[in-house]
Structure formats: structure tokens, C-alpha cells
Symmetry: C2
Subunit: 127 residues, 2 copies
DNA sequence: CTATAATTTCGACAGGTGTCGAAGTAAGGA
DNA sequence: TCCTTACTTCGACACCTGTCGAAATTATAG
């Protein structure tokens, strides 16, 4: 089974009208990520060697106080985008890839501009 | 040439630390979409037959006044997510798929849960 | 040319959000 | 035990944002 799917067009968000509750939930997730600092935090955590970063590694990269960084990390954590734990003196955070992928899945237009194998005949929209 | 890429792991956002300017720009895009009403508007426009929708079609689906809907449409348009034009009495809007796809590209973890063909050994993160 | 309908712009206001400094908590070291 | 370091919580404040009603704009119909 390689392609039982009817190869639909467009991103999921453009395929069928979003329900009210679903929209509210997704908007919450998006709000968490719709901030330059949090976007960079997420990126720094995810790209850190080992897949996790200590808060001390993150704070120095910003012109912000520790409470502010802590606040942003809390927002990301509450949204389910990262998780973390204290290990001795330091607190480490890591990305929850499932949640990140959920965001991407909303907007991807079906297939990446990747070396897709298969009968991919992507047309984004008839314009 | 089908795959000169070294098959990287993770979503782009988790691959390398986002630059400050890039983060600011992307956050702007995300802010535009981080609202339940705008998310639904985008979805309704994109899924409308013909790929475009009249404002009159959109307004009725919400418990909001026309000025408010107009405001949200303006936010989406300013962000480059939709465009529109007046045709006679009505104003029509349509999605700009490029911009939507750009959002998705940030978060997709490389390959979809699709029947990927190739030496794909996706592990999102070593947890 | 006036009336009517569709949409946008404008001003105003309540509520949400990012930031800080000060204080609190937790762990390690002298 | 007390001090220092790492991080979080708490209050406060400026600013941004979603919403509305009223008025302006654009186009069609009489």
C-alpha cells in the first residue's frame, strides 16, 4: 500500500472549513509560537547538541532578563511544544516533535518540494 | 539529481538556530494566523469552491460585525497570506499558497508520515 | 441623481501580552 | 550553617489587539 489516498489538493487548512473549536485550539498553539523570542528559543533548543538545552545556554543569546526568558519557556511548555526538567543545578528543555509537526501539517500543501517518489502531481491552487 | 541533500533530521526550525531578523519576520507571519477567526477565514477562503470567497460568504459564519471581519481580512492580506479584489458590488479573496506553504515548511519534520521511498530513517529526536 | 447595498476606515475601549525588578525556591559548595 | 548560583513566581506597567458603532467609500438600481 503506497497510495490509497485520493491525492487531495492544498494544505489541510484549505481543504475544508475549520471547525470553531478546532480553530480555537490551533490558534492557541500558533500564538505560542508567534513570537520572535519564542521562535528563537524553540529553534535554539531543537538545534542544540543532544536535542536539549539548559536555560543558561539560552538566556545569554537575548537582551532580556531571566524572568522574561522563563516566561517564554513557560508559554512554550504550556502549549506542549517543549518539556523540561531540573537536573541538579540546571534546568533542561527539549522539543516535543509531535506538537511541532502538528503545526506544520496544517499548512503543508500535500508534498514537499522533496525528491518525492510517486505519482505526485502537485498543483497548489488553480490560482 | 534526486537527492544531493544529506537527509537532515528534524524540522527546519529545529535544525539550526533561527537568526534574529528571520525570527522576527516569521513571527509576524505566524501572528497573522494565530487567531481563531483568521484561521477560520483562511480555511473558509481556501476551501471555497473556485478557490475564492466573497466577503459576504464569510461574514455570516461569525458572530462578528462586518468591520471586525474586514479587519481580520486586512491582517491576513497585509501578511501576504491572502489577496483580493473588488468585482462589481462584491469583494473576493483568495489564498496565496506560497505564503501558507512557507509556514508549513518551518515545522514539517522532513518527511510526512507518508510511504516514503528511499533510505529514510527518520528519527525526530533522540528524546 | 438619489437610494440602497457591500465593504472599508476611523475612533474608542476593554482585555491580553511582553517586559522588568523584586522576591521566592532549589541545589551545591565553603 | 550560610552563601552563592540558577531559575521561577509575583506585581506592576506600557503597549498591542480584538471588538464595536458610526461614518466614509464604492458600485448598482431606480
Amino acid at each position: 500500500m503506497a497510495a490509497p489516498t485520493p491525492v487531495p489538493c492544498c494544505a489541510p487548512i484549505a481543504r475544508a472549513p475549520l471547525a470553531e473549536t478546532e480553530a480555537a485550539e490551533l490558534a492557541g498553539l500558533l500564538k505560542a509560537v508567534a513570537d520572535p523570542v519564542r521562535l528563537r528559543l524553540l529553534s535554539m533548543i531543537g538545534s542544540h547538541p543532544g536535542g536539549e538545552a539548559c536555560v543558561c545556554d539560552l538566556t545569554d543569546a537575548f537582551d532580556l532578563t531571566a524572568p522574561t526568558i522563563s516566561h517564554h519557556l513557560k508559554v512554550l511548555r504550556t502549549a506542549g511544544l517543549i518539556d523540561g526538567e531540573r537536573r541538579g543545578t540546571w534546568v533542561y528543555y527539549w522539543i516535543i516533535p509531535e506538537t511541532v509537526a502538528r503545526l506544520g501539517a496544517l499548512f503543508i500543501p500535500l508534498a514537499e518540494p522533496a525528491p518525492a517518489a510517486g505519482p505526485v502531481d502537485v498543483e497548489l491552487l488553480p490560482a
